[in-house]
Amino acid sequence: MKLDRAAILTIVLVFGAALVMAALNQMTPPASAMHVPTYVIALAGKYLCFAMLALAVDLVWGFAGILSLGHAAFFALGGYAMGMYLMRQIGDRGVYGNPNLPDFMVFLGWKQLPWYWHGFEWFGFAMLMVVLVPGVLAAVFGWLAFRSRVTGVYLSIITQALTYALLLAFFRNDMGFGGNNGMTDFKAILGFNIQADSTRSALLVISALFLCGQFLLARFVVGSRFGKILIAVRDTESRTRFLGYRPESYKLVVWVLSAVMAGIGGALYVPQVGIINPSEFAPGNSIEAVIWVAVGGRGTLVGAILGAILVNFGKTWFTSVLPELWLYALGAMFILVTLFLPRGVVGLFRRRSRLEPEPEVPAASAAQEVTG
């Protein structure tokens, strides 16, 4: 796989910036002008996790034409798997000092750990679940949906239904995932104090590492013959079928891969923000993730990362300086970007590539003509 300069620049910037920030946070005294406060470290870590979600969305939307309005569900599931591990790590340091049960279970009068919580005390198992849970859900959902050739808006709407159903399910206290409050008050990860600046810095660097890894993986996938077929499926699905390809298999593979990437993003997100709760499943979150990609530039991968960071930075900034007006700013940004920057911010800097999706979304119209 050959990397162009934009890709190299992205990797260098993401990983380099994370490394520099972490190093400055660790090695300079707080009074120093070069010191990066922990607040910034935590924020940057959060942005990078969102960038992973955006990357996952771009992979399916930009290259396979699947507009998922439920991708935050996979992100949240990964987050919950990590959250469960972190809850088990608390051990008897919880408020009630109960070594076996998380606080919220004691609180609700539960007597023993539900079966599906077993195993999460082991980091390895939990990490396996971070990958497996979103992956398996995506596989089942995708297998059903792609096999029946559910496409376009219909697919978007049922992905939304999926995340909405999960939202309602996780809200239920009876489910044993902490209900509305979710999981919080984490103490340690792999034995390291989760609130320590060093842990935060390490988590930031790890997030950067994973983001770069995912970026490279995504580049590999879209650059391979598989990726070319994926683009072919996106634009002219029926043609690929008459050539003997099974679009459903291609979509399923990239869909599951994307779900796993989102899940890993969620897993890294939770220790850095310190809470996971059902509102992560809210359909609005998934729509926002799509907007990050649109702002950055759909079908470019680099744009997804850039969009996630830009929009979230904007959100952090606006909610502080314009607390009463920031929704106008954010809403206006979305409208303006779709109207005037159909190819996103990256489109400003970049010559048009044929491999990027047409802003006009020609996918189905071509297919329609074919059948005519």
């Binding site: 391979s224 013959r225 598989f226 079928r241 390809y245």
Partner: protein
């Protein structure tokens, strides 16, 4: 001709859309290595017939046999394509964002499974085959251009090239010369005859001059069933045919 030489056999195929009979007990036999032209007025069921053969549409009744013992009605499009039936659409349908080269690469016969394509590298053999097809379809000069940038005729050829790359036993070609210049039309006829040396071909076409140029057995469809069949001169003299089609 013996049974063994039959490549495609449609028997009593009926397709109904919302009460409209697109195909009405259609029967058709295609021999191995044959080229057949199918003509008929609009709505005669030409495209629906293609759809049935390629698995896009499932017939209400009837049999579609490919080779000795493969029932096509039980298979879906990719499976049928893998058996060796290629289809060219009325409107040229190629992968516009990809280069001519990549279009052919994706069409080349080979493993279609994601686990293969994910790690596939272009082999010397593939390169050779692509170059050969580029030669045949006269697209060598534009091989690195995106398909979207090709002229209409070039796109038609590219699509035919992609069919060739699939190495099918049977090609279904829907109006290959629509919108082509006379010169291009002529070249296309030559190309099809060349292809027919190794493969069976079904051509659906309106252009009578082109059909005449192909000089093959003609099947005339009307209202979903066969109206007449035979050499072009015989068919064009048939009063029924003249009434519904030629003489309109």
């Amino acid at each position: 001709m013996s049974e063994g030489d039959t490549l495609l056999y449609l028997d009593g195929v009926t397709v109904t859309f919302d009460g409209f009979r697109a195909l009405n007990a259609l029967s058709l036999v295609l021999e191995q290595g044959e080229m057949r032209a199918v003509i008929g007025p609009n709505g005669a069921g030409k495209t629906t017939m293609m759809d049935v053969i390629t698995g896009k549409t499932r017939p209400d009744t009837g049999k579609v046999m490919f080779g000795k013992d493969t029932d096509l009605t039980r298979l879906d499009e990719p499976a049928i394509a893998s058996l060796g039936i290629g289809r060219k659409f009325q409107k040229p349908t190629v992968f516009e964002p990809h280069t001519v080269w990549d279009n052919l690469l994706l069409a080349l016969a080979g493993d279609r499974a994601p686990r293969f394509t994910l790690f596939a590298r272009q082999t010397a053999d593939e390169k050779r085959r692509i170059e050969q097809i580029l030669e045949t379809t006269r697209l060598t000069d534009v091989r690195h251009r995106a398909a979207a940038d090709l002229s209409h005729g070039q796109k038609q050829w590219l699509e035919i090239g992609m069919l060739l790359a699939q190495e099918p036993q049977l090609l279904l070609v829907d109006e290959p010369v629509a919108g082509m210049t006379d010169a291009e039309t002529e070249q296309t006829a030559v190309l099809l005859r060349e292809i027919n040396r190794t493969r069976s071909v079904v051509v659906v076409e309106h252009d009578m001059a082109f059909v005449r140029a192909l000089d093959v057995k003609v099947t005339v469809l009307n209202e979903g069933s066969v109206l007449a069949e035979g050499p072009i001169d015989l068919v064009s003299d048939d009063p029924k045919v003249i009434e519904v089609y030629l003489g309109r």
